[in-house]
Symmetry: C2
Subunit: 333 residues, 2 copies
Amino acid sequence: MKKLINAVEDVVRDSLVGVAAAHPGSLAVDLENRIVARADAPVSGKVGLISGGGSGHEPMHSGYVGAGMLDAACCGEIFTSPVPDQMMAAARAVDGGAGILQIVKNYTGDVMNFDMAAEMVSAETGSRIESVLVADDVAVQDSLYTAGRRGVGLTVLMEKILGAAAEEKQDIDALLSLAKRVNDGGRSYGVALTSCIVPAAGKPTFDLAEDEIELGIGIHGEPGRRKARLGSAAEVAGELVEPILADRDFTGAPVIAMLNGMGGTPLIEQYLVYGEVARILSGKGVTVARTLVGNHITSLEMAGCSLTLLNADDDLLRLWDAPVNTPGLRWGC
Amino acid sequence: MKKLINAVEDVVRDSLVGVAAAHPGSLAVDLENRIVARADAPVSGKVGLISGGGSGHEPMHSGYVGAGMLDAACCGEIFTSPVPDQMMAAARAVDGGAGILQIVKNYTGDVMNFDMAAEMVSAETGSRIESVLVADDVAVQDSLYTAGRRGVGLTVLMEKILGAAAEEKQDIDALLSLAKRVNDGGRSYGVALTSCIVPAAGKPTFDLAEDEIELGIGIHGEPGRRKARLGSAAEVAGELVEPILADRDFTGAPVIAMLNGMGGTPLIEQYLVYGEVARILSGKGVTVARTLVGNHITSLEMAGCSLTLLNADDDLLRLWDAPVNTPGLRWGC
């Protein structure tokens, strides 16, 4: 295992020390609770938007904290849910009097811990606290770690869109209804060329032969649909698009498309795959209105990529385009 | 070799197809000449800022084209200089009547080809065309591919700062003087944990044992100063900072610090190393005013990172903070 770390047990903490050093003006890092919050939190009259999950997916979630996106992120150990104490500390930090909304990726541990935190926050403060589950991965119906679909790339889009709506002081019911539209309209699918190595494990999570890929991979290296021979990028793009379009009709409204790198795949390859994806989508009558290419929700150094499509009406596009000022997504600010 | 590509000889072109598809409103991609230009080029009365070099370092350079940064990027084959015809096409595309400035990383092939292009453009159009060389890598004095120091991470800062100055219509002499200040005040040093694989070669550029790193690595996998055992991130951070501070005194004015990922190193590790770097710099009396952490000048999927420091007065900081709207760096727009 070749990694730029100190002790294995300190990876998340040590990395947050770097986040604090790199973004002193805009982010407040609580090293004890391992939460990253907006420096100006709580913002009065604004729904406090919290997310979090296992670390190792950076920039998600800590890199999406800031004006126009999350108010706080709770950083678990690598690929391990944060604990309820973290969400409680985050809720206290960002409660601006308009309630708290938790964005939770659909994994059993995350769902349980965010639910527990919500109950405790509500009992402690009386503040209204709600959760939305992201469950966009069409690869598998249930999995090792989930009942129902896994939450993957759509989480990035959910955080951006709800963040924009929260920033303009939409209330919690409006955000819940918006989250439903995002969940209904969004689908993802991923492919891995190599495994990653979780520091505490010290060895690859799974094995792939030199000519093999895993189709439908999860963001923690969970098995997908099947192994296949690595073909051309055009073929891989076809494998990404097909299950998404088979699951939902994406014609009739423009889409936001994210071609996401899993961590170890160079940007030149990500753009190359996106070129093939765009060609296929165009041939299928799907109109791409906005595109995001890059490492946005990663699995440490895993090589591979994922595709997320979100059917977006004018309102969703407006919220997508709204100013955002985070380390991971930044425009208009 | 496991890569998301079609034919090896089409990697650069196919990736540019993706760039065109992903950024239709802001970038104009000339597939025949493999140049990426601002969609609104030429901007009248503005110095046309061109850079380029071998591909495989994305987002540099094509990802730094846009308002507030480059007017055009010339994309060579992977790790291979673009040819003068490409720079000539770029110059024609971005000549707004205030002259052309080429930002060239100091590699023999690049220097020769940009010089040749400058002579031909000047002869053809009569426009004034100048070049600035970036040569910031303190690792080696001469190398396999250079006379003098290699141009590495400082190129990103040079493109941002000159881009901001060009955007506010500073003239070409002012830009040349600014470039001299950036070159005088900037230094870089890098470390690799793994090699990358150039598609056309199909095998790793160099070998490193499982516990070995290369200190002073170049961005094409050129040898550095020495191999060493991989220690803790704190030790690696020390190895990054020491040769830079030994080469130049960075106390007395604030610095812009870039901790750059080489492509295959997860962001969580990059922030972790940056935390250690920040601690060391603080102990040495170096004041960091701005920080950039992420994959900004990469070597395909190489694991490792580099550090760039630039001594920056208020004027340089103002230009650094100025709005920029490119796929790779975006703020204020």
